[in-house]
C-alpha cells in the first residue's frame, strides 16, 4: 500500500543578471582564463567594482590584468563542505591578494583536503575549470607548487548576462495534521478541521483557525463528504517557465465539499472543457483504486487534493446550487 514520506523539497529560482561595464569584462576574463582588476586612483581593486569603496564615487571602467599568482592574507578551513561550495570535500576559503592587486578576492583553495597546507602568506595560483560559463566559479586556486599548466581557449562573445540557478533543499517530516490529511486521502477520506470557536470546518486544515487564532488538533478533525459544489474555475494555458511540466490547456477549479466552510482550491479537471464548467455545479470525487493512490505531491507547503488520488470529478446531475449562495466562497 502507498505510504507517507518525509518532505524532500527543492525551492529553485533561476536568476539571470546583467553584468554591467566592470563585472562583465571580469567574468569574460575568467571564462577566457584571465583575472582582471579595476583601477581606482593608484590602486587596483580585485574583485573589480564600479565604484570607489572609500568614497562611493563612480569609477570609469579601467581594467587591468592581475594574478594569476597571489598571496593568502586570511583563510579558514571548511571541514564540512556545503552543496553550494566549489568542492565536495574539505577545502580552504581564503582572502587572496593577487599579484598586481591592492585588495583581496575571496575564493576557494584546493589543497587536496589537507588543512596543514594552508597558512597566511602562502602563495597560490589560479586554475580554471574545464567548463566555464562566465562565472566566479570558473576559477579556483591551488598552492603555487601544485599548479598544472593549462591551455585556455577564449570564448567568443563578451559575457553580458550571468545565470545563477539557486536551489534550496528542505527536508522535514510532514507536520502531524498534514500527515493525517494525507493518510486520509490514501484511505479515500477527506479530513477537515472544525474550529471549536466558530464551528467552521476547514479543508485541508492548517493546524489552526486563523480567524479566531486558536491551534487545532486531532480532536478537532472530521471526515467530510467527497461530494461538493464548484465555486470557482478557470482554464490554465501553460506558460513554459522553468519547472513547468504542463503543456496543454486544462481546467482548474475550487470545490466546496458538503458540510465545510472553505473550498479546496487547485482541483484539476482533465475530462471537461471550460465551457462545460459552471459555478454551482455539483461534483463527486471518483477515487483511484487504493493501491494506485499516491500523496507524493503533498508536502507541508503545497498540495490539497492531488490528481494522484482521484481519477476524475464527476458531475452528480443534481440541480446546481444558486451562485449567490456561494459568494463567500468564490475563490
Amino acid at each position: 500500500m502507498p505510504q507517507l514520506h518525509d518532505v524532500d523539497y527543492t525551492l529553485e529560482y533561476p536568476y539571470t543578471r546583467t553584468t554591467g561595464p566592470v563585472i562583465g569584462p571580469f567574468l569574460t576574463g575568467l571564462r577566457d582564463g584571465r583575472i582582471l582588476g579595476q583601477r581606482c586612483g593608484d590602486r587596483v581593486l580585485c574583485p573589480p567594482m564600479e565604484f570607489d569603496p572609500d568614497t562611493f564615487s563612480t569609477l570609469e571602467p579601467d581594467l587591468v590584468e592581475v594574478g594569476p599568482g597571489g598571496e593568502v592574507v586570511n583563510w579558514t578551513w571548511v571541514a564540512e563542505s556545503s552543496a553550494k561550495h566549489p568542492f565536495d570535500r574539505p577545502f580552504g576559503f581564503a582572502f587572496i591578494k593577487l599579484d598586481g592587486a591592492d585588495t583581496a578576492l575571496v575564493h576557494a583553495v584546493d589543497t587536496g583536503g589537507d588543512p596543514e597546507a594552508m597558512s597566511t602568506g602562502m602563495r597560490v595560483t589560479a586554475q580554471y575549470r574545464e567548463e566555464r560559463h562566465g562565472s566566479i566559479a570558473d576559477v579556483y586556486f591551488v598552492p603555487e607548487a601544485d599548479a598544472a599548466d593549462q591551455v585556455i581557449e577564449p570564448g567568443e562573445e563578451p559575457v553580458t548576462i550571468t545565470e545563477h540557478l539557486i536551489g534550496l533543499r528542505l527536508n522535514e517530516p510532514l507536520y502531524p495534521h498534514r500527515a493525517r490529511f494525507a493518510q486520509g486521502l490514501l484511505d479515500g477520506k477527506i479530513i477537515g478541521q472544525r474550529s471549536p470557536v466558530t464551528g467552521k470546518v476547514y479543508v485541508p486544515g492548517r493546524g489552526y483557525d486563523n480567524m479566531s487564532r486558536v491551534l487545532l488538533s486531532e480532536a478537532d478533525e472530521v471526515v467530510v463528504s467527497d461530494v461538493g459544489t464548484v465555486v470557482a474555475f478557470t482554464e490554465l494555458n501553460p506558460v513554459q517557465y522553468y519547472g513547468q511540466t504542463e503543456t496543454e490547456p486544462y481546467v482548474r477549479c475550487s470545490i466546496l465539499f458538503d458540510g465545510t466552510d472553505q473550498p479546496v482550491i487547485g482541483i484539476d479537471i482533465r475530462d471537461m472543457t471550460v465551457e462545460e464548467m459552471r459555478v454551482g455545479m455539483r461534483m463527486r470525487c471518483i477515487w483511484r483504486d487504493p493501491e494506485d493512490r499516491s500523496v507524493e505531491d503533498i508536502d507541508n507547503r503545497f498540495g490539497n487534493i492531488p490528481e494522484s488520488v482521484y481519477t476524475r470529478f464527476e458531475p452528480t446531475g443534481e440541480p446546481d446550487v444558486p451562485a449567490d449562495q456561494l459568494k463567500e466562497h468564490s475563490w
Binding site: 563585472i23 569603496p53 571541514a79 545563477h164 522535514e172 492548517r206 489552526y208 486563523n210 487564532r213
Partner: protein, 355 residues
C-alpha cells in the same frame, strides 16, 4: 542624548523556546506568542494600530511565506500590516519609527524563523554579492571563520578566548528555560574538540533552531495605561559596513561604534548587554566596540550560541533584556541585533526601566 518625538515602551513580550525542531508550520509557532502578548495587555486584537513582522522566505522555503505568517497575527478583518525580510529586531525598529509619527498608539511586532528544514549555510550565502560571492556558496560560517582568524592574527584573541565565551554562554543558559543548549563545559575540553571551520569548533557556532518572538510597544500614555512596569526604548540605531569582507577590518566593528555613539550608550550605566553573538569571536569584537567593562552582564540569557532561531534571534535579545529589566535584574541595558555575515550590519537598542 537622543531626541525622540515620542517616548515608546515595551508593554508585553513573549517568545517560544529555541526548538531543535518545531514540527509544525511557522504560523503555528508564532500564534501562541501573539496570543500571549495580546492577553498580557488585555486589548481587543483590532484595537492594535499597526502590525509588523520579520522573517525570511528562503528559510521558510516558499515564495511569499511571510504572507502565510499573517495567519498568526489575527489579520481578519483586515489590519494595517507590514513586513521586513529581516530579523524581527528590524520590525521593532520600523514599529518604533512608526510610533514617532504620533498618530497611533500601539504596534504588534513579531519575528520568526524555521531554520531546521533547510540549510542556513546555503540559504544565507544568498545574501552575499550575487556575482563574486554567492556562486561559490560563501556562507556565514566561513565568514565567521575569517573573522576568527583575523582576530588571532592581530593578536586580539585566542582560541581559548573563544572557548571561554562558549563556556560562559552555556553556563548562563542554565537559568534560561528558552535555551536549546546549556550546561557546564570545560574550556580545556572545548579546545580538545576538532575544528568545524578552523579556527572555529562546533560550539563556537550556533545550534540550528526554530523559534519566534513577539512584543507590543506603545506610546507613553498608552504604555502606562496598558502596563504597570513598561520598559522604555530610549534609542535604536542601525549601521552597515561593506558586504565585501575583504574591504573590512574584521577585528573591529566600526558600525557598532557609530551606533553606540548615536544611541548614547554611555550616557548612563549599562547593566546588561544582550548581544547577537552568533559565533563566539563576535562577543570579543562587540564588547570592545561597545566599550563594555566588568560592570555589564553580557548575555545572561546565554545568547544565540545556546539557541539561534534566525530572524527571531535579534528580537529575542530585546525580549530577554526587557524581561531582565522588568524583573529588576538591571535598570538600563543594550540589546544588539546583527544581519549579514560576520557582523556586517548591526542594530543597537537601549532599554531602561522606570525604577
Amino acid at each position: 542624548m537622543v531626541s525622540l518625538a515620542e517616548d515608546v515602551a515595551i508593554v508585553a513580550f513573549s517568545q517560544t523556546p529555541s526548538h531543535a525542531h518545531f514540527n509544525d508550520s511557522e504560523p503555528a509557532m508564532i500564534m501562541p506568542c501573539v496570543n500571549s502578548v495580546i492577553e498580557q495587555v488585555g486589548m481587543d486584537r483590532h484595537d492594535i494600530d499597526f502590525t509588523i513582522a520579520g522573517s525570511c522566505d528562503y528559510l521558510s522555503g516558499m515564495p511569499f511565506a511571510f504572507v502565510m505568517n499573517i495567519d498568526a497575527v489575527g489579520a481578519w478583518p483586515p489590519v494595517y500590516e507590514s513586513h521586513v525580510e529581516m530579523d524581527g529586531a528590524w520590525a521593532l525598529f520600523e514599529g518604533f519609527v512608526r510610533l514617532q509619527s504620533g498618530d497611533i498608539d500601539t504596534v504588534l511586532v513579531s519575528g520568526s524563523g524555521k531554520c531546521t528544514p533547510g540549510s542556513y549555510r546555503e540559504g544565507f550565502s544568498l545574501q552575499t554579492d550575487p556575482y563574486v560571492h554567492a556562486p561559490i556558496g560563501l556562507d556565514p560560517r566561513t565568514q565567521a571563520g575569517f573573522q576568527a582568524q583575523a582576530l588571532i592574527a592581530a593578536g586580539k584573541a585566542t582560541e581559548r578566548d573563544f572557548a571561554e565565551v562558549v563556556a560562559r554562554s552555556h553556563a548562563n543558559a542554565k537559568n534560561n528555560p528558552y535555551a536549546q543548549l546549556s550546561g557546564d563545559l570545560s574550556v580545556d575540553d572545548l579546545l580538545a574538540e576538532p575544528y568545524l571551520q578552523q579556527p572555529l569548533r562546533r560550539l563556537d557556532c550556533p545550534p540550528t533552531s526554530d523559534g519566534a518572538g513577539a512584543m507590543i510597544i506603545a506610546r507613553a500614555d498608552k504604555a502606562r495605561e496598558l502596563c504597570d512596569n513598561p520598559v522604555w526604548i530610549r534609542a535604536i540605531d542601525h549601521r552597515i559596513e561593506s558586504h565585501h569582507p575583504t574591504l573590512r577590518d574584521l577585528t573591529d566593528s566600526p558600525s557598532v561604534r557609530i551606533a553606540a555613539e548615536r544611541v548614547g550608550l554611555h550616557d548612563g550605566p549599562v547593566d546588561i548587554a544582550e548581544l547577537t553573538v552568533t559565533y563566539s569571536p563576535e562577543e570579543i569584537i562587540l564588547r570592545d566596540a561597545l566599550g563594555l567593562n566588568g560592570d555589564t552582564a553580557v548575555n545572561p540569557s546565554g545568547g544565540p550560541l545556546t539557541g539561534s532561531p534566525f530572524m527571531a534571534v535579534g528580537l529575542t535579545r530585546v525580549i530577554e533584556l526587557a524581561r531582565a529589566i522588568a524583573n529588576g535584574d538591571g535598570r538600563r541595558g543594550v540589546a544588539h541585533a546583527s544581519s549579514g555575515p560576520a557582523l556586517q550590519q548591526n542594530l543597537l537598542c537601549v532599554l531602561e526601566g522606570d525604577s
